[in-house]
């Protein structure tokens, strides 16, 4: 905490996202979700409940809109680029499913608004939420265009895990009490375990070492997860193949028919989750 420090490192401290950001990233965890394969079954969502100690809130609280699903499957009956079918009478093209979890934005709008810095960007490229620092101002959730942050409106642990259901709780992460915000962490406890194991074995984290709970469960393998800084990882290849790049607000694709896109990219949140468009017979 000295003037010297500020002056010496001024350039470093003044480096924003556009200039590459402050971090020298160790990893850049990211995800690809193939909507062509996603069937909307919800296995990922339940897997997330199991892995991340998500509270079951019950019907009345669900009705009030206080559910805690970090990974939610959205279902829409229309698509913006899909013209209504000739006979508008039936839902002929089925439904449009969209699994939504925290997009781990590199320029996350939730981060700068937290009054106590309980949410920030880690050197792993993750959007961290530190539960024990959170005071529950809920500003982050308000400022998340994806609405992917969930608030502990109650001490859910009082009702969600009657004995012996509480024996299932994962000890690798906290059970959240009332008054704190929570959200998808890309299964940070699994990332941590994989990194520890790799370190113990004296090697780098390999592609596939970390599987998120949703990815592991997905019956159609629609979710791919990995490190964008590893040039050999599947996600890197997919992002490349679909001509989507991090750090852009609009992708100028050489092949516009490539399916990759990021949701609300134009808001300059720079999400780390790329979706692959659904495929339809027309």
């Amino acid at each position: 905490m000295s003037l010297q420090n500020i002056l010496n490192n001024w350039d470093k401290y003044r480096k924003g996202h556009e200039a590459g950001g402050h971090h020298v990233y160790e990893h850049m965890w990211s995800m690809v979700i193939d909507l062509n394969k996603c069937i909307g079954c919800g296995a990922c969502s339940v897997a997330c409940y199991a892995e991340n100690n998500l509270a079951v809130v019950g019907k009345d609280r669900f009705e009030k809109g206080q559910a805690m699903h970090w990974l939610r499957i959205e279902r829409y009956w229309d698509e913006p680029n899909l013209k209504p079918t000739a006979s508008d009478e039936f839902q002929q093209h089925g439904a449009s499913f969209l699994p939504m979890m925290c997009q781990q934005c590199n320029a996350a709008t939730c981060e700068p608004v937290c009054p106590v810095a309980a949410t920030y960007h880690t050197p792993d490229g993750l959007n961290a939420q530190v539960y024990n620092r959170c005071i529950g101002s809920r500003y982050c959730s308000n400022n998340c265009p994806y609405r992917l942050r969930y608030f502990n409106f109650y001490s859910f642990y009082e009702t969600s895990w009657p004995e012996p259901l509480n024996l299932q709780l994962n000890p690798d992460l906290s059970v959240r009490d009332k008054g704190v915000m929570e959200k998808c962490t890309f299964c940070v406890q699994r990332i941590r375990t994989a990194k520890d194991t790799a370190r113990r074995e004296g090697r780098k984290v390999r592609d596939g070492d970390v599987q998120t709970a949703c990815q592991q469960s997905c019956p159609t393998t629609a979710i791919v997860f990995g490190d964008m800084l590893d040039p050999e990882s599947r996600v890197t290849k997919l992002w490349k193949a679909h001509e989507v790049e991090l750090g852009k607000t609009a992708q100028h694709k050489q092949h516009p028919e490539k399916r990759g896109y990021r949701i609300f990219e134009g808001l300059n949140t720079d999400p780390c989750v790329m979706y692959l468009e659904r495929v339809r017979e027309v």
Binding site: A67, P115, V116, Y154, K178, G179, V180
Partner: protein
Amino acid sequence: MKDINEDIKWAQINADVLRSMETPRLGYWIAVATCVAMIACAVVAEIYQYKHGMGYGLLNWPHMWDIYIATFIFWIGMSHSGTLLSAILHIIHADWRKPIYRFAEAMTTFSLMTAGLFPIIHIGRLWNMYWVLPYVTDRGIWPNFRSPLVWDAFAISTYLTSSALFLYIGMIPDLAICRDNARGWRKKLYIALSLGWRGDDRQWRNFRRTYLLMACFLIPLAVSVHSIVSSDFAMSIMPGWHVTTFPPYFVAGALYSGCAAIITLFVLLRYFFRFEEYMTIAILEKTCKLTFAIAMAWTYLNLIEFASTWYGHDVASKEVLLQKFYGPYAPFFWMMMFCGSVVPFTLAIRKFRRHIPTMFVVSLLLNLGMWLERWMIVTPTLANAYHPIAWDTMWPGMVQWAIVFGSFGWFGLLFLVFVKIFPSVSMYEVKEMVYHRRGHAGKDTEEVLHRPVEGVRATTGRPGLEGA
């Protein structure tokens, strides 16, 4: 027409004002009891919320904020007129401010004290509220200075400190008068508070400078405070919040609701403390005209905000706007427009302006409109933001209503305590007003100045300020 009867005797001024601070009567206690009862509602609700979580206020995903924040802005807004207007009017030597600025500034301080409660009440873990403050700790963590909420904390504490000091410094000569007329505990209190004021020329000279400098600070400060509060919204990314006109819009709204509140309290004080001599219709009229001007500015800024949203053609913002017009919150939106933009036209009509009961009702309506405005800023955006899966209509629960209701009791109680302990009309400044008026009137100055003053003393025939 004259703002004030310039022939009023100075001793009478002292007597009238000190009388208002005397041992309260039954009506006062009833008012206090009412306020305490209202606070009790809020306290019960808050205890419940504290124990069981924010959910019972029916806050939800995506409505993480609701009328707590709306009421917070409301109170912050109300705090603006007092000090800001007082400071501006002081600088431009509009001396009609003098009989009414004291309670207006008190209103500022108390509404800030009320507003300050809301961020605390609304956070999920209020027992950790102090983490917002930048204190040195060996844990090596700081608040996040990027967050508009931290700006709020800075701005509000600066504003509260400054406006309380402004109020207090302006009150020192009056406190000295109280000191001279008080007994018992009050005497001790006023001795301490008047800081040894004796009214010598050195004190007056420095007092004048200090007061002016404070006023100069307070004007930009007050503007910054409400623009910072508007940053809570304008700095976000949400449609309907991310609006460039928000800072001036908020400041205008703040002045507006503050002026309306001044009218309300003006009427009440005039009636209950028989301050007809000081809080004259002429001053009321001036206040009303000012309010009308601000109301029109507010209306304009409101319309320009809609226009820019409409013209700007951002899909999400437009959606929010349309939802305000036609959605489930539309009745409240149109009521806000009615109260905020139509009702103030009564202020433009002399007949209404001079009719005190009408003005009382109108001022309440204006403030209702301003409260609705804040609600309509916070909630429709949350109800219809970018992600359509999170579109939701939410009505606040009883816990929220009770706390909002109680905040009025808290404000009322603070104000009731204030009027009995502090002079709610500035005695020395009314004297100055009379003095200068006569000084400038020219013709009868000599005569008035040379006329021996009758031996009227504040204490004569009156018990003075009793303190147990």
